[in-house]
């Protein structure tokens, strides 16, 4: 479903809730039918179609989450499925099918995507038993369905990094960074990846951004310390101080750090010459990130 259509559908549903006249219900049904027809054209090359008997619904759309997620999770994505042990009722033999069902109904279900990736890595089969499609396919379908959902790209990057495909993981993370530059979790994972790639200056830049915004996990710092590559961020200039030629303000530093990866050859020298200040934490950053989770609905 295209983004404009998604907005239309959402607006129609919201409007229906406020003013449930026959006319608005008819309009909503017409818009939904039009959207469904559009989805029928959404084949994902090599990965089937997004058309599904139930859905497809958008994991980032509050109305879809409210109206359709509970029943999907109740029957197909409980804690046992997320932990790859199997649903409480259907058991481990249905694990692949439960994950597949969840991702057909909610193609961009972040936790289910992560679980599908883990399931395939654990099973060492592609597709994993019962999953019908490969984990890569489910990620491709998610990106086709919700192209502006940055968390999908991040979770795909995490999967690729776990798989050892570091260059492909970097591509996903950088794409995610375009969509969710404020995500401290993304900066943290990107930093871990840079450290694995031995791009320590870039890794340190990401660490400073993540920790400057209150990200709680010390793994990236520990990783850089172990590699002998950790440095504390430079002190912030005193208020009112005249910046010298080498100083940068926080927004410029963040821009520099995020653009550095795109020119891999010059990344180190750029990072050295424009050391970023830690980003100013948003007021809700610490509570939201204190227990690291993706953007759950």
């Amino acid at each position: 479903m295209s983004a404009p259509l998604q907005k239309l559908v959402t607006a129609a549903i919201d409007h229906r809730r406020v003013c449930a006249s026959a006319a608005t219900v008819a309009l909503a049904i017409a818009v939904l039918a039009f959207a469904r027809a559009g989805a029928q054209g959404m084949d994902v090359p090599g990965c089937g179609t997004l058309v599904n008997a139930y859905g497809p619904y958008d994991y980032t759309n509050p109305a879809d989450v409210r109206d359709h997620l509970p029943i999907v999770e109740q029957f197909h994505f409980d804690r046992g499925v997320d932990a790859l042990k199997g649903h409480a009722q259907s058991g481990p033999q249905s694990l692949g099918g439960d994950l597949a069902y969840t991702l057909r109904a909610f193609p961009n279900h972040h936790r289910a995507l992560d679980a599908m990736g883990r399931y395939q890595l654990r099973s060492k089969q592609a597709p994993a038993p019962g999953a019908r499609l490969t984990a890569e396919c489910y990620f491709e379908r998610a990106m086709a369905f919700a192209p502006r959902d940055g968390v999908v790209h991040m979770v795909y990057g995490i999967y690729l990094a776990r798989k050892g495909d570091l260059d492909a993981a970097l591509d996903r993370y950088l794409e995610a960074l375009q969509m969710t530059p404020e995500s401290t979790e993304l900066h943290y994972n990107l930093g871990l990846l840079y450290a694995d790639m031995k791009r320590y200056d870039d890794a340190r830049d990401q660490a400073w951004i993540a920790y400057g915004s209150g990200f709680p996990l010390l793994g990236l710092r520990n990783k850089l310390v172990r590699a002998g590559q950790w440095r504390d961020p430079p002190p912030e200039p005193a208020p009112g101080a005249t910046p010298d030629a080498g100083a940068t303000d926080a927004p410029a530093a963040e821009d520099g750090s995020t653009s550095a990866p795109s020119s891999s050859g010059g990344a180190e020298s750029q990072a050295e010459s424009t050391e970023p200040e830690p980003a100013t934490p948003p007021t809700d950053a610490v509570p939201a990130e204190a227990k690291p989770v993706t953007e759950e609905p």
Binding site: R79, R118, A161, R162, E185, L192, P216, G219, K291, P292
Partner: protein
């Protein structure tokens, strides 16, 4: 209940560490040493620990260096179970 043994099983199951989990000692580094402990991996592990041991992990407990080593994590779990 042996916290260390249970914790090794949880690490093996949730991070797909396999035999590596069984060979862990108190000094084995976790965060920053295990590639599997990206942000999603930590969430997965915390959820599994909460379910298995029956307590909730508070936000500020995550921010402490609880996950530095297998020993610090085992101590944390033991203190919560006490």
């Amino acid at each position: 209940m042996n916290v260390a043994d249970d914790l090794k099983l949880l690490l093996a199951d949730n991070l797909q560490l396999g035999a590596r989990a069984q060979s862990m000692t108190r000094d084995s580094a976790l965060l920053g040493a295990l590639p599997e402990l990206d942000s999603q991996g930590v969430v997965q592990l915390i959820t599994a620990i909460e379910e298995h041991f029956g307590f909730a992990v508070a936000d500020d407990e995550v921010s402490a260096d609880t996950f530095a080593t297998f020993g610090t994590l085992a101590d944390f779990v033991a203190s919560k179970c006490a």
